[in-house]
């Protein structure tokens, strides 16, 4: 059989898109993670989920399911907004803990380590891993740790930065307005060049100097918990995020200029 360019082009399209269609129909075609960590292959813990396989895209909800850890413990340990416990992705930790002193980092590796200690699972420490103080407190209370382990945990404990990017929503309501005034002259670079993105929270708008009243005018409603991100708010209210984002961005730009 002799093939020419056109035949080959058609065959390539049929193979590629036919293959994708076929596997989509059977549900095998996945372009995102299934969020089920690998299990230990052998030894005492064979068959159990391995914390080392937790990835940045895993949400606290996924981790809670796979490792049977209460969401509250995970969320509190890492200072996450309670409303976002289920959907919070490990990789977002980097933005909360962005202002830690150089060399210290709280991120996905910290979650892996926390989960391993919490569940008493084996974990291969290949780098220095830091944990928030709250996480250490929870481990002391709930995990079975030796004296030596507790001491070493205290050495790697870092406090939740008093950063405006923190998602901890425990601030009392009346402090919010003060916060606006205190920070309105600061330039906070939590989101690059004060550009609203999917993860931008109302608190960040306040930090950029936008007034709560102006935000409420646009929302035509009371401002929600400042730690809520704008995209989630839009989704909840059934508002189009792009439109809301545009109006909010105008406010931010007015403050900037």
């Amino acid at each position: 059989m002799n093939l020419r360019s056109t035949h080959l082009a058609i065959i390539i399209f049929v193979f590629i898109f036919g293959g994708i269609a076929l596997t989509s129909a059977t549900g095998y075609w996945q372009t995102t993670n299934t969020k089920i960590p690998a299990t230990y292959k052998d030894g005492e813990f064979a068959g159990q989920a391995d914390p080392a396989d937790i990835r940045g895209s895993y949400t606290f909800g996924d981790i809670s399911n796979s490792f049977d850890i209460p969401l509250e413990d995970l969320g509190q340990a890492f200072g996450v907004d309670p409303e976002r416990y289920v959907t919070f992705q490990c990789k977002e930790l980097e933005s909360i803990y962005a202002s830690l002193e150089e060399g210290k980092e709280v991120g996905t590796a910290s979650v892996r380590y926390f989960v391993a200690l919490y569940k008493g699972l084996p974990f291969n420490l290949t780098e220095s891993i830091y944990l928030p103080e709250l996480a250490v407190d929870i481990l002391k209370e709930k995990a079975s740790l030796s004296e030596a382990e507790i001491l070493s945990l205290e050495e790697i404990a870092v406090s939740l930065p008093a950063s405006d990017n923190s998602l901890d929503s425990s601030l009392p309501e009346q402090l919010e307005h003060e916060n606006v005034e205190n920070t309105s002259t600061d330039t906070h670079e939590t989101t690059s060049a004060n550009t609203i993105k999917g993860i931008t929270t109302f608190q960040e708008l306040l930090n950029w100097g936008v007034l709560k009243e102006d935000i409420e005018k646009i929302l035509n409603d009371k401002m929600p918990n400042p730690q809520k991100n704008i995209k989630d708010y839009a989704a909840e209210k059934g508002i189009e995020f792009s439109g809301l984002k545009e109006s909010m961005q105008e406010l931010v730009d007015t403050v900037k200029s």
């Binding site: 059989m1 002799n2 080959l8 082009a9 065959i11 390539i12 596997t23 996945q30 372009t31 984002k245």
Partner: protein, 289 residues
């Protein structure tokens, strides 16, 4: 024993009418290049809450068949993929293997956007250096360097296996090209992209020839693929136009079938494209027609 006589100087009176070169491959390459560009753009947009309708927003890794290859060991051992790789990479890997068993590395010449990118740069190189383009490296050195990509392949597989991370991302110029705005791209990947761009101005497809681990995997299929580039000596005038047209510098005219691990099934050498004689170089099964 008498050797078959190949007429070298006289052009046999055969069907020599030359048709215009078909642009089919270019169109297919353009399609995949822009499809991949749109998918990566859509992925970036999805992070700020926007999206392009009807276009997937999977990551570049999710639509890369080499991710499947790099994950093979982990998949066999524990049933999961290395970080950032998903089922889609596996599906595409299988499709690419099926295509390669039949037709060789058609993914390289018809689909891979990085191959396409290098071909576009080659057009500039050809303008700058004329006939010297793609002939700067001495043949002896070149033929050794062509095996370098198997060393890269071994290293990538070994490091992926030992770290269970997609280690190749840090040196992957394709990732750097399509994600240049992202902070996920390592400096090393940008440097390799820069070097590849410069080399592409003097050599056709330098990354594919010397470094691409995926090209290395697909190249192995050339040894036993079903459709091959076959030359009919009886129709050949030995003008060597097929040799000159080959981006991978394969001496098509010196054998009856191309088994070279570097052939990418671009069909440039065939009678449909460069060879002036009808039915002299064809893409056929054994005994063809």
């Amino acid at each position: 024993m008498s050797q078959p006589v190949i007429q070298q100087n006289s052009v046999p009176i055969l069907k020599t009418v030359k048709i215009r070169k078909p642009k089919t491959r270019l169109y297919v390459q353009l399609f995949f290049f822009f499809l991949v560009a749109l998918i990566t753009l859509n992925k970036a947009l999805s992070e700020i809450g926007l999206s392009i309708p009807y276009i997937s927003n999977g990551s570049l890794h999710a639509i890369c068949p080499f991710g499947g290859v790099a994950s093979l060991y982990k998949f066999a051992a524990v049933g999961t993929f290395v970080q950032k790789i998903h089922e889609s990479s596996f599906v595409l890997m299988v499709i690419a293997f099926l295509l390669a068993i039949l037709f060789g590395p058609v993914i390289c010449s018809w689909v891979c956007p990085f191959g396409t990118f290098q071909e576009w740069l080659a057009k500039i190189g050809r303008k700058l250096f004329g006939k010297r383009f793609n002939h700067f490296i001495p043949t002896k050195v070149d033929s050794v360097l062509r095996y370098l990509r198997y060393v890269v392949l071994f290293l990538v597989l070994y490091l992926t296996f030992t770290t269970t991370k997609l280690i190749f991302q840090d040196v992957d110029p394709y990732f750097a090209l399509f994600q240049f705005w992202s902070d996920e791209v390592a400096l090393s990947a940008f440097i390799i992209l820069g070097v590849t761009i410069l080399l592409s101005l003097v050599i056709d497809r330098p990354w594919c020839k010397y470094a691409c681990p995926y090209g290395a995997v697909l190249g192995i299929f050339n040894l036993f693929r079903i459709f091959k580039i076959r030359r009919a000596p009886s129709n050949c005038t030995d003008c060597k136009l097929c040799d000159r047209s080959c981006p991978m510098n394969i001496p098509v005219s010196s054998g009856n079938a191309v088994l070279n691990h570097q052939c990418i099934s671009c069909l440039s050498c065939t009678s449909e494209n460069s060879c002036p004689m009808s039915d002299a170089v064809e893409f056929t099964t054994k005994g063809g027609k």
